[in-house]
């Protein structure tokens, strides 16, 4: 039987990335008892993956890690929330079950990469763009590896710079967005000196790598492992030999926990008021789940949520102007990096959509909704619970994939059994959505 740990706090924070750290530190510095529940082995989220132990983190990250360590915040690492209801979260680590009772909750669950299916996308050594960076930050040597970076979004340049800095040879960066849109985005960036300087630094580091716009990967070539990728460089196909492909089509928010608590979601994002409070009283949301805006916005939203949850409305208000400024990026990124329709044409009927249950695009396409595809094909019913294929299906078929039921993360039977006795009288819904 698993160990069951009971935790009690004033404010619980789900997610230990920049938004979650900022929120937790802000509350704790005003005297509240705060617990952070984070899926990763160390706090920092993906952008500061590995936490203070990793060399080369930005100075701002080091400041927040120091404040976190002095704040008295309890960080429960390696714990994923699988069930939430009013006042109670349930989370699992690899060895134990955590039952957390909270007064208020701040959801800062971050985002994941969007992976679109294309021929060969299940070949080993085809990674996410942030995925390969995360693995490199987690110890994978990339020196002398030939890498193609592809997809869309500002992350591509950051990843290419990181890999180059660590000795990889980045053959090219394929960005599907149009040059004219990227130039407009660059013009907006120019008004944010810190962001602009960072982009210039990334480009200087990758100065020997071609940056192709209106270009994308059309196939991964190789049987048991990647040998080359075929890219469309503005309509011209060319094969590029490589060891790794790092690809991703920007980010999708992790809204599952907020949705399970009944928070309203619009166009995929958690709805919040000016104090970052969701449509549910006492439940706040900060960072990427409210709109993909980057680390600066996440830190501001986290602090505002923290102040508001701690009852300090004036301190929250003081940060509104800075937040409004950085929110310009949310819309600009959405417009600049919107996906071109021809990317959907790469997902032909014979290739896999759902990698957990090996369901083809063609079999899923026969259905008229996400629910129907799940019920009839098991698409999205495997361990990732549609976090990969559901996001892809939303783009390919225009399906609404927003319904959530507990458990929102795979959990052990013993945890589910303990959950039912913990919250006696409450019905557990199993089966397909």
């Amino acid at each position: 039987m698993d160990k069951i740990a009971q935790v009690q706090c004033d404010i619980a924070v789900v997610g230990g990335g920049p938004a979650g750290i900022a929120a937790a530190v802000t509350v704790a510095e005003s005297g509240g008892k705060v617990v952070v529940i984070d899926d990763n082995a160390r706090a920092g989220g993906q952008i500061w993956r590995g936490g203070g132990a990793v060399k080369g983190q930005p100075r701002e990250a080091a400041c927040w890690f120091e404040r976190l360590s002095k704040s008295g915040v309890q960080v429960l690492s390696g714990a994923r929330v699988f069930h939430a209801q009013a006042g109670i979260l349930e989370a699992e680590t690899d060895r134990s079950l955590l039952q957390i009772r909270f007064g208020k909750l701040i959801v800062a669950a971050g985002a994941r990469e969007i992976f679109l299916p294309f021929p060969g996308w299940t070949t080993p050594n085809v990674f996410g763009a942030g995925g390969l960076q995360a693995l490199a930050k987690s110890g994978l040597p990339v020196a002398e590896k030939r890498v193609v970076v592809a997809g869309t979004g500002p992350l591509l340049l950051a990843v290419a710079a990181y890999l180059t800095e660590h000795g990889a040879s980045v053959a090219c960066i394929c960005e599907q967005a149009r040059l004219s849109d990227l130039l407009n985005f660059g013009a907006l960036m120019f008004r944010f000196p810190k962001k602009f300087a960072e982009a210039i630094r990334f480009r200087v580091k990758t100065r020997h790598t071609s940056y192709w716009t209106e270009s994308h990967v059309i196939a991964a070539i190789g049987k048991d492992r990647l040998e080359a990728v075929r890219v469309s460089q503005r309509g011209h196909a060319r094969d590029i030999p490589c060891d790794y492909l790092a690809y991703g089509y920007h980010l999708a928010p992790n809204t599952e926990v907020a949705q399970m608590l009944g928070c309203s979601v619009r166009e995929g994002f958690v709805q919040v008021d000016e104090c970052q409070q969701t449509t549910e009283a006492g439940i706040y949301c900060a960072g990427e789940p409210t709109g993909i805006g980057g680390v600066e916005l996440a830190l501001l939203e986290g602090q505002i949520a923290g102040h508001a949850a701690a009852g300090d409305a004036d301190s929250a208000k003081a940060l509104f102007p800075a937040r409004a400024r950085y929110r310009k990026f949310v819309r600009a990124m959405k417009e600049t990096f919107s996906l071109r329709p021809e990317l959907a044409a790469l997902a032909t009927d014979d290739i896999l959509l759902c990698r957990c249950e090996d369901v083809t695009v063609g079999n899923a396409r026969k259905h008229d909704s996400w629910k129907s595809a799940k019920l009839h094909t098991r698409c999205g019913m495997g361990p990732c619970q549609g976090r990969v294929c559901g996001t892809a299906a939303a783009f390919l078929f225009g399906w609404n994939i927003e319904s959530q039921r507990p458990p929102v993360f795979p959990a052990r039977c013993s945890s589910l059994a303990a959950m039912s006795s913990f919250a006696a009288g409450r019905q557990i819904n199993g089966g397909p959505q």
Partner: protein
């Protein structure tokens, strides 16, 4: 050179940089692929705990996402099924 530690991937000793995740150990072992439900070889995709392609049995606990587990000395990482 960074400090290293030794773990076992399918019984084979693999040296990994300290602070590495189990997924990195599996990638360094080379040619160790999970088999999908239709028999395809699979390796990590997302690197951050979302896709479940990297799941392994680690120190006897099945179905763990190896990208979210830090290596410990003598850790046993095995493919199952």
């Amino acid at each position: 050179m960074a400090e290293t530690l030794t773990v076992y991937v399918n019984g084979r000793a693999i040296a990994v940089p300290a602070g590495s995740t189990a997924a990195v150990a599996v990638l360094l072992a080379g040619n160790v692929y999970r088999t999908s439900v239709s028999g395809e070889p699979r390796a990590p995709l997302c690197g951050m705990g979302t896709c479940f392609e990297c799941r392994m049995e680690i120190n006897g606990v099945p179905q763990l996402r190896s990208c979210q587990v830090l290596c410990e000395p003598k850790m046993e990482i095995n493919l199952r099924g």
